[in-house]
Amino acid sequence: MLGKTANGLFWMARYLERAENTARLIETGQRIALTRLGHSDEEWASVLKSAGVYAAFKADNESITKEGALDWMLRNRDNTSSIRSSIESARQNARLVRTAITGEVWEAVNATYMRTTDMLARKVAERDLPAVLRAIRQNTALVRGMINGTMMRNEIYDFPRIGTFLERADYTARIIDVKYYVLLPSVSAVGTPIDNVHWDSILRSVSASGGFRMQYGAGGGPADIVHFLILDRCMPRSLAFCAHELEGNLANLNASRSEPSIAQDKVRHLQEKYLSGDVATIFDYGLHEFVQAVLGELAELARQIEIDFRFHE
């Protein structure tokens, strides 16, 4: 398998995951804005921060408005992480690796691109927003399903998986980082409607609201949310879950190599040092500092994967 192909598969999956996460983030932001419990502008600022596009947005826009933020994240081509840009990049990478993916995966990516281009050709009206975001989530899920259902479980399969879980871990970490202050135990206003909305918004933006209720019933406070998002092994968007998947795929790849990849050591280090303890350890470390450290480890891991698998010359 070509290094270039591994690179293309990795980024195809990363961009699709990014588009999906951005859609989920917008849904959450919109929900908070509509329930009017939060401060709307602040909320959009925090949505932009979670998406990792706040600085670029500020450089291009004087003030933060809902319309501005929405368009920036949905359609703006200067924003390489907007949903439109992400899907375009995903398709470009899929074209590049057309021979590695099945026809069904390619058609699912192409159909996602065709629908998205169509829906995002013009500014999205507020009343159309829910349908557009739902369609994006469904289409990206369709691609994931096709990868799952039609691709051989060989080295080609590992790279889209690695791209997906790296992007997902990165996203979950950023969500926590932007909202870490509402999760700190020192905040005394526990259980007020505002906090409930913030906690709920964090859970919703990683599609974990239902799972959390199932696990903790009507109870569950900030420490439980932190545990759920970082350490829970069953939650498919938690850091521990993503790291576990990454470790598994890197182990698969190592099995067929003469020289083991360093990336696997790095992900094991991440698991042992950060994701094996309990919530108390995390709060002792400092939630913000902890998440910053994990984000650093993830970036380093991505760099190592590029080197190990010869993505570039």
Partner: protein, 474 residues
């Protein structure tokens, strides 16, 4: 030009149906036009979804277009095809013998059958190939012979595409689309399959490897990249053959072999099916600015370390000036009379021919010797006075750059238009695979159709479409 006197492949002059179309038309008569129109739209959707697109040169990089597909097949009888196949095989045999000869002893020049300067002064002649014999002696592993038909059984060769003929993915996808949309048609018509082409291609390439045929030959397709107009086809063929699709920057010369960068290090390649032109193949030996090729690949090739398909330097065989000598070339190397006719051709480099061409521009088609894709040509009968005058000046300035041919009355096959069936001009590109000791012609090929009424230009870059091409069982 679409007058009653051109040959229609479906209908005879007395409105009688020609034999190969009988089974198809029985089906067509029972079809509802509204359903067919819906099917035509469905076909377009299928093409768009599978991404069968081509990029248009000179347009923005992102632009991808569909080649229009017409649902009425072009049908050729089994006996007619057999006759064509013999002619094609003979011609391809001659082309390979000619290429070997001009890069070695040049017997054909010594025998006075082709003027020496036609070779030595030809831009398509590649001095790097002098004295080089490709593995297995095969120069053109893949050939597309462009044929036109002017009457019952009257086929002429318009062009021999011996460099990197394209369009085979459309032959395959057109059939796939027809099978999906009208499965019943293939139950009641016995159509010879084309679907083996990718497997045949891989076998044929593997059989041409430097060490001879084995099952584990590493084959790869070299593409200029995703912005190339035929990128879809490159990816499609690599995918269908189950081989890697590589670009120049994935390759490197290691220990005298051409190797590709895999996730576990560099892996040597035995056969490279390149879809990159000669001059971009090797920046060390040819165009030094090329980013598409592999520095030093020609040296590996000359040392017998890799098979390049098609071999570098094959362009001289499909050069339009050499084309006019094809009847002599076929006779010289096969000792037989050519089974397929050439179109009469005036070489404007010759004073008598030039005088005739200048006197008859209104009647003739004039082409650039090195042009392709339907660009830079004059079609006398449809050109304006101004266009003819402009072309006359160009022709006088560089006569050696042009050849001229009579305007052929190309055959028509109906297309499914808004107002029902309408005759449109077509050509045919069958695809030929050559490996040591073997020539294989896939039954059918790519039928290109000029969608504009009366137009003779079938090129996809200029508004042409395609049809499925059926060869019936004998």
């Amino acid at each position: 030009m679409t007058t009653a006197d051109n040959f229609d492949e479906m209908w005879g002059t007395d409105e009688s149906l020609r034999e190969p179309y009988r089974g198809f038309c029985e089906w067509l008569d029972l079809e509802n036009p509204a359903r067919l129109r819906a099917k035509q739209r469905e076909a377009e959707e299928l093409f768009r979804l599978t991404g069968i697109t081509f990029n248009v040169y000179g347009k923005s990089e992102a632009e991808e277009r569909l080649i229009p597909f017409d649902i009425i097949p072009r049908i050729i009888s089994g006996t007619e095809w057999l006759r064509l196949t013999r002619g094609i095989e003979q011609r391809v045999r001659a082309i390979n013998a000619f290429l070997h000869d001009i890069y070695h002893k040049q017997e054909i020049v010594k025998a006075g059958r082709i003027p020496e300067e036609m070779i030595s002064r030809n831009d398509a002649f590649l001095p790097h190939m002098i004295g080089v014999t490709p593995p297995g002696g095969v120069y053109t592993h893949i050939v597309g012979i462009d044929l036109v038909c002017t009457g019952p059984g009257e086929f002429f060769v318009l062009e021999d595409n011996a460099r990197t003929p394209s369009g085979v993915s459309y032959m395959l996808e057109n059939r796939e689309t027809m099978l999906q949309m009208f499965p019943e048609l293939f139950s009641c018509n016995r159509v010879q399959p084309v679907q083996n082409y990718p497997v045949d291609l891989r076998r044929s390439l593997a059989a041409s490897a430097p060490t001879g045929a084995t099952d584990d030959q590493v084959v790869a397709v070299l593409t200029p990249g995703i912005y190339n107009s035929a990128y879809f086809e490159h990816a499609f063929l690599a995918d269908q053959m189950g081989v890697e699709l590589v670009e120049g920057h994935d390759l490197r010369i290691i220990d005298g072999r051409v190797a590709m960068r895999t996730i576990c290090g560099y892996k040597p390649i035995d056969v490279l099916y390149r879809r990159v032109d000669d001059e971009f193949l090797d920046p060390l030996n040819f165009n030094p600015d090329s980013m598409l090729g592999v520095p030093g690949i020609m040296d590996v090739y000359r040392a017998g370390g890799i098979t390049i398909a098609n071999a570098p330097g094959t362009g001289i065989a499909d050069d339009k000036a050499i084309y006019s000598y094809m009847p002599e070339i076929v006779e010289f190397y096969t000792g037989e009379r050519p089974l397929l006719q050439n179109v009469q051709t005036w070489r404007c480099s010759e004073p008598d021919a030039l005088a005739y061409v200048l006197d008859n521009l209104e009647e003739l088609v004039v082409k650039e010797v090195h042009g392709s894709g339907g660009y830079g040509m004059l079609i006398g009968p449809t050109a304006t006075k101004k266009e003819i005058a402009a072309f006359r000046r160009k022709l006088k300035a560089r006569p050696g750059n042009y050849i001229a041919q009579p305007t052929l009355s190309l055959s028509t096959v109906p297309v499914f238009s808004r107002s029902g069936l309408a005759p449109r001009h077509v050509d045919l590109r069958p695809f030929v695979l050559v490996s040591p000791g073997k020539i294989h012609v896939t039954p059918g090929g790519l039928t290109r159709v000029a969608l504009k009424k009366g137009s003779l230009v079938v090129n996809s870059s200029q508004g042409g479409g395609t049809k499925d091409t059926w060869v019936l069982e004998t």
